[in-house]
Symmetry: C4
Subunit: 324 residues, 4 copies
């Protein structure tokens, strides 16, 4: 398909970091959450994974589950050790206690040591039990240091907090058409000096083989001073555009993927933040335009940005390009 459109194809770029040859590549390139669709192997798991990064990126509920499980596991291990040494070395445990009472006493003594709460109504006696308790309290302090670091790392991680429209549109623009998508910050953060970069991946047939070609998509405005309201990224489909000659059907057939990369400076973090996402051909609406998503507040004193309308669009007629 499209074998003759050499003009556009000749301007493709090969510094995307993705391979050119789709025959060695699978599926979409970039996932919707901005991660790349690549898996790694050939190194042991623990070398291939940064636990810090994994713990930083996991869902909050999972993160706290990991902590609770770790806390329970460490207490069980130390309870077993105290039990093995003998609970008679833990003062304050009644000598007539049942097995369950002894086990739970060892467990709770462990938790009191690990958290350094150390009530003392149960206390270690004998060299060995004292040594284990001393080790456990050090471990508790170190574990706490790790948790403090992780929690701080989690909430201080610079993020752009950008919401994207769930679809990209081919909309009427000036005398012709434009590819449009919309974004906005959805938290009470403020981005300045925001830059956007769109890269198009086309799967085209060359010499009978399907290969992936990458093209930068120039934007009408690719840099704004302040991302206070919403921002509609507009790629005007001129004759120089790689998709100028593509019909709606051809775009789907070429499995277009648009990789979006936003970089900005965040006020709160005083740091550069970035966010990526990707739109596949399934998210393309041909012939539609976005509806407004901000308006003057009723009392006229401020502007109201309606985040639930970020993907709101209506279908419109689109003038097909005249191919020459």
């Amino acid at each position: 398909m499209a074998e003759s459109r050499n003009k556009a194809r000749s301007r493709n770029i090969d510094n995307t970091g993705f391979g050119q040859n789709s025959s060695v590549e699978g599926g979409r390139l970039v996932n919707r959450d901005g991660t790349t669709n690549v898996k790694k192997r050939g190194l042991p798991f623990w070398q291939r994974v940064s636990f810090y990064h994994t713990l930083l990126r996991m869902k909050r509920s999972h993160f706290f589950l990991v902590i609770v499980l770790f806390y329970t596991a460490v207490n069980i291990i130390f309870a077993a050790i105290y039990f093995a040494i003998g609970v008679d070395h833990l003062s304050g445990i009644s000598s007539s206690a049942s097995l369950f009472d002894e086990v739970s006493a060892a467990f709770f003594f462990s938790s009191q040591t690990l958290t350094t709460v150390g009530y003392g109504h149960v206390a270690p006696h004998g060299f060995l039990t004292n040594l284990v308790a001393s080790t456990e309290s050090l471990l508790g302090i170190l574990a706490f240091a790790v948790v403090t670091g992780l929690i701080y790392g989690r909430f201080s991680r610079p993020r752009a907090f950008l919401a994207f429209s769930d679809v990209m549109l081919i909309a009427p623009y000036k005398e012709g058409r434009a590819l449009m998508l919309r974004l906005a910050t959805y938290k009470n953060n403020h981005l300045t000096d925001a830059e956007a970069q769109l890269t198009l991946a086309l799967h085209v047939t060359e010499n009978g083989k399907v290969v992936t070609r990458f093209f930068p998509l120039p934007l009408e405005i690719s840099k704004i001073n302040s991302l206070a309201l919403s921002w509609t990224l507009v790629h005007y489909i001129t004759e120089d555009s790689p998709i100028y000659s593509y019909t709606a059907g051809e775009l789907h057939h070429a499995k277009v993927e648009v990789i979006v990369y936003i970089k900005a400076f965040d006020d709160h973090f005083s740091n550069t933040v970035q966010q990526r996402t990707s739109y596949t051909h399934n998210q393309l609406v041909y012939g539609a335009k976005f509806l407004p998503m901000f308006e003057r507040a009723a009392d006229g004193d401020y502007t109201l940005l309606e985040l639930d309308k970020i993907g709101a669009h209506e279908l419109v007629e689109l003038k097909e390009p005249v191919l020459t």
Copy 2:
């Protein structure tokens, strides 16, 4: 008003991130504290707000109030749980205690557990009470980790600590007039490579409709090596300036707003810091000049910067521009 001043208007910019159409926009664009005058809705509160950012930016007194309230609330909740299980499972509480004594004993046992101080004169007995206490001490450690992170985040947040003059002036400058405003660092921090950027918002009538137009205001010096003393930002109002033909009255009528954006590198944080503010037409003094705010110290060994004079100005005669 000013329908014929097409020259200036034609150079307006549309990458400010604010809408061009004042009919969908309300009030001033940027607040004096640098935040944008925009509210968001359409997402649940907890998705729309970054609690970390909110806790980082709130006033110090409010922040500590939040901590004290949280501490009290958690203790009340856990005291209720201990009370529900039965205070007889807390050793060290006299069996003849009054209800108030029992409740307060549960409350203070909770606080001793949460802070991990754990004196132990009151101690948990029985599986359930022990389990709750064990959970509370873990929660205490996690809460403490969060607080440590927040406190560190609060005072390590890179900030420019810039004071701005409370007014902007139209002052005599060279052969004509200039828009001036003044700033200085008011803390013992030091900024290098400071850059300033002024954007003017004019509300003008076009085709009978009031629209907002944005213009960059070029500065005589827009970048300095070191922000050691005060810095007066000077926009020389030449014939190319968007406000060249405006009289004092017209400036007010057009509801001019000057958005100030400062970016610099801070020594202490070794980080880029930035600060924004905005001046509305109410803060404009037409025909005035700033008074000096630094002088040689009495003993001649250093320079003295007087921060309370940052907005000090005196009225002066201003030559009106000759409109052609």
Copy 3:
């Protein structure tokens, strides 16, 4: 050797930060781990070394060993102090205890104080013992603060996590030859805007003296948008290349060293990361090409990157350059 190759030599650079004169310089310039092969003296050890940096960069096992040793040492010192004051000031120690029991009681009381676990079954009595215990608990809190900072500093330290091929190749490329080496991220991190810079060090004879000359090695692609897969750095050896006229033997004889410098932006840290390494002539394979290291996954949904193949290469015939 190579006295006549003035053309290439005339373009050498002297802003590498290394001395030009190999007679005052020893061994390789940059070690494989990216550190420079320089030792410093002339200042006391404690002024010359940043303990924070040392503790940040040491192996994890060594780091935890340092903590355990520090913990033990502090406890021994304080145990000695408590013992010197008299263990009779520690309540809860049986008066009939043996010397060993007394010493270990002092030791474990110290550890309970340092970690602030404070069971209280052993407690300080008398002004002096109380004062020491009060000091030790403050020290414990400060030490813990340091450890928390170190642990956070260790795992939040921005790193590129790049694996490099263990060899560099002179491979066939276009009509001639190219110097190639390969790299990839081996963790679940993602780098964007990656830049590479190669500097060649040649030890050449000039006026009968061996001197070190530095040359930048231009790359076919020196910047990529996303380091999602592997990246092969390719220096095409054209007539302008400093090593155009060198045979395999001459390259070894000139003790070529290629210093690699990678700079990128990391998603997780939202920070610039960099990594350096160096290849000496012993790591040069003349006449070989890299084997592919990524492929479409069996189920076709993603791309599989095989990290153990990063240095995989096969020997190939190489056309010698025609020297004119």
Copy 4:
């Protein structure tokens, strides 16, 4: 003096951030430690000072003194409160205790609460004492959070760790003279992409008034890839140099001050670091050259950098410029 040297003077710059008019300015501009010689007033002390920055920059010994004093002061305050409520509400204090014993018991109970060590052999009784203890333990946790943040902030603060030669030289260079000064990193850190910028301040007489003029001093090499060894900054005094026509005596008379600004990227911190310093005319040696400060190690395997020789120089004859 030097009234006729208009050529050089005409190229002076006014974006240094320092005032042009020396009559309103006192003493040197930048101190040797890189801080500016400016004091601020006109705002209350607590608004004018960033306590975080002050605590971050003070000497280590002072910092720990502040902590010990704060710890003692808080304990004295709380001891006074416990004493005022009545030490009989602290169980474990013998009823026959002397006043000194009671006071010290209150003090040490306070310290056990503040550090959360909470042995429990002294424990709070009664609502009021419990409430105070509960408050103190919360305060202890918050204070600890602050200390953790400060300690982390102190040792993670990106710093360049640059040593400068104690003098700047006018040395023979090429056919003429050059202003030289030398710097090196003195810790085990590594700087890349180092940039240097020299600014000269001359106090010259204009129209009978002494004014300060600033000039950039171009460097032979102003940017190096790696600051592995020492770096000698060289300003070649050509005819274009502002000090070309100055003799040794005139340089002293004009009270030359050279402000040095170094910016680099640090490997460990993965952050931009910078350092400033300043040389006054008292630190100028006219007619001298630096002695080498690095050499090949005895065993030839590495380069040895001798930090104590950073300012080492010997006097040499200098050809005076021919003034035309």
